[in-house]
């Protein structure tokens, strides 16, 4: 963009249109972008403080308060009973692991495929990964009968030579989640370094001290950039198989069990697709909140981004439907009595409202709305779509976990589960915890990767072809 021949005057109208549409053509000086991002970050307004205080308080009461009550009284405060030994805690665990796939998908997969539209919101999505994983990681602790003995799942040397049981999927979970949490946090941190250095150079007081430590003495030399881009490339490739492994292993918690309705070979890819579906949907919702509540964000996050997210969401919803259909049609064809009863229970039994809620929210509504470009481009529509799809995905996990457990091979022991107030409170508290952590982080780190946007500006240019102008992209990496 910077050293090109000026376009003829008669095309200026078209150029203006394109600038309005595409962030990466709408070049602004680096200084101005720095200022915009820092202004959004340092905007600790009264409203934000009240919101954070409220979210923090609600989290302390509904999540940690209820958890303490649960621990001191007993797991009986949850609604679970024989034969349904897992309830809302495991549902929420799978749900948050699903949300955590947002960041990796958006920033790693789109990065290695060089999808340019990712640039302004890779970090916003990566932050979701880290915080969703933290929320998810609480549940394996919350749902334990004796939480204070959780460290027995950790392989640490002890006098009795007792190790965890490496045949148990719960131990695989432990390793998979920790690997993913560490990997994705590092992957969040690496592209953050140049922006932290930028914030260091432009801030004063405690922020200056904080960013001086966090930016690790970044000066922006050519050597440093070479190392950084190399490291980001390696991490982007490496985190993708980790992401696939995490939700596959979560699905194995169910699939390896001798439980009809769980014992399905398709659960690995089915769960991964579901996770990416809920993750992408959540990115849409969070981007809407970022765009409407933070300063200067309408420049960085535009209808074009919601449009592309909408297309992705539609395609992944179709992918999810494919696996969903496979899962049911093949089980049904098997014709086993208990499986037939489970399918009847899902579609017509007591749990049918939840099952149909899943079908409506994950298939009917996205397919009815997302084909339309005008709707996709409306941020509030994508906000609502994000919420709807996530309601559907929560319902999916609810059906799989509690629905399948309600029916077994001994009809005398069939059961029915209803979540208790304590469970609902804890599940709700994780949402406020997520929003609280996200809100705090949005004022502590630059939420927009300025250097990546600038890189995008350099890569994009407008070219005159005949009587029109077209945007073109050069490959910088």
């Amino acid at each position: 963009m910077h050293s090109e021949t000026p376009l003829p005057a008669e095309l200026h109208g078209q150029v203006e249109e394109l600038r309005k549409e595409h962030l990466l053509i709408d070049v602004r000086p680096r200084e101005e972008m720095n200022r915009m991002v820092l202004e959004a970050m340092e905007d600790t307004s009264r409203e934000w403080k009240w919101a954070m205080a409220f979210l923090g308080l609600v989290t302390v009461v509904t999540l940690f308060g209820a958890w303490a009550y649960l621990m001191s009284t007993g797991m009986g405060l949850a609604g679970i009973r024989r034969p349904i030994f897992w309830g809302l805690f495991i549902v929420s665990f799978v749900f948050w692991i699903g949300i955590s796939h947002a960041g990796t998908f958006v920033s790693a997969i789109l990065r290695v495929f060089k999808a340019e539209f990712r640039r302004p919101f890779t970090r916003a999505a990566e932050l979701m990964t880290t915080f969703a994983l933290m929320g998810a990681g609480l549940y394996p602790l919350i749902h334990l009968g004796r939480t204070w003995r959780f460290y027995w799942m950790v392989p640490y040397p002890n006098q009795r030579w007792l190790w965890p049981n490496f045949r148990s999927p719960l131990v695989w979970d432990f390793f998979a989640i920790n690997t993913y949490l560490i990997g994705s946090t590092l992957y969040l941190y690496l592209p953050l370094i140049p922006d932290l250095a930028m914030a260091r150079d432009k801030s004063t007081g405690w922020r200056k001290k904080l960013y001086t430590i966090l930016s690790l003495g970044w000066r922006g030399t050519e050597e440093e950039w070479r190392h950084l881009t190399k490291a980001i490339q390696i991490f982007a490739w490496a985190i993708i198989p980790v992401m696939f492994s995490v939700h596959t292993i979560v699905s194995w918690d169910f699939a390896v069990a001798m439980k009809l309705g769980w014992h399905s070979t398709i659960f690995g890819p089915y769960f991964i697709t579901g996770a990416i579906l809920s993750g992408i949907a959540a990115v849409g919702s969070v981007l809407y909140l970022v765009r409407t509540t933070m300063k200067n964000m309408t420049y960085f996050i535009r209808p074009e981004h919601f449009d592309t997210l909408g297309k992705l969401l539609l395609i992944i919803s179709m992918g999810w439907t494919y696996f969903f259909f496979n899962e049911f049609i093949l089980e049904w064809y098997g014709g086993e009595h208990t499986v037939k009863e489970i399918i009847r229970f899902y579609t017509q039994g007591d749990i049918a409202p939840v099952w149909w809620l899943m079908v409506i929210c994950n298939i009917f509504i996205p397919w009815a709305v997302l084909w339309n470009r005008n709707w996709r481009r409306k941020p509030w529509v994508m906000f609502l779509m994000g919420l709807i799809v996530n309601v559907g995905m929560y319902a999916e996990r609810y059906v799989i976990v509690t629905g399948a457990l309600s029916r077994n091979r001994i009809p005398f022991d069939w059961g029915w589960y209803q979540p208790s107030l304590v469970e609902i409170s804890i599940a709700f508290g994780t949402f406020t915890l997520f929003l609280f952590m996200y809100g705090m982080a949005s004022r502590l780190i630059p939420l927009i990767p300025v250097w990546e946007v600038e890189e995008g500006h350099h890569a994009h240019s407008l070219r005159k072809v005949g009587k029109t102008v077209v945007p073109s992209v050069a490959d910088l990496e």
Partner: protein, 236 residues
Amino acid sequence: MAGEEHTKWVMVIDLDRCTGCNACVTACAMENNVAFAGEEENAYGRGMHWIRLVRYWEGEYPEVQMRTMPMMCQQCSNAPCEPVCPVFATLHSEAEELNIQVYNRCIGTRYCANNCPYIARTFNWFDYEWPEPMNYYLNPDVTVRRRGIMEKCTFCIQRIRRAQEEARLEGRPVRDGEVQPACAQACPTDAIVFGNWQDPHSKVRQLAESQRGFKFLEELGTEPKVIYLSSQRHEF
């Protein structure tokens, strides 16, 4: 030690003899310090009984017949509960070929209970109190469990151990019929018989060879150690 090396404890339950009187359930609760969950919790589906009567109704009213099937941990040789426990709280004992539940090791993931096709496991949802005067009746041979851990039928392992120790002191193998779990002892119709499979003259061995014998959900490959006898086998 001759008695210990070649033991494979097996239970035979004759469904044709079972009257559904629940004596086994009561005896088991007394022997094994099974907690009193209380009326409400029981109705909610949190009874702590290690053995239960799976009950079915046959026929149309008024020609209704009740059929019962005592159900407890089947002590599977290939147990689905064992591999899923992350901390080895449920594992296989080599000596007795039984499924052991180590209360002190259990952290309460409840995965074992989800994976049990016999729904044999019960969970301590709360710290339960024994109502007066039942708190004076606790069996000193059996651990009292606290909240947050899983428990299940042990084939009255404390009785197996006692019989083995007595036999060892007298320098003889354990005699057939010497070990009797509480449920078998209490059964008024002798529907439940317990013994050593390795002893070719044992009562369980002879009963198990009956034409009426079957193992419940055997097709899952769990290799259960409870053999049911029924002349109406197709019903189950």
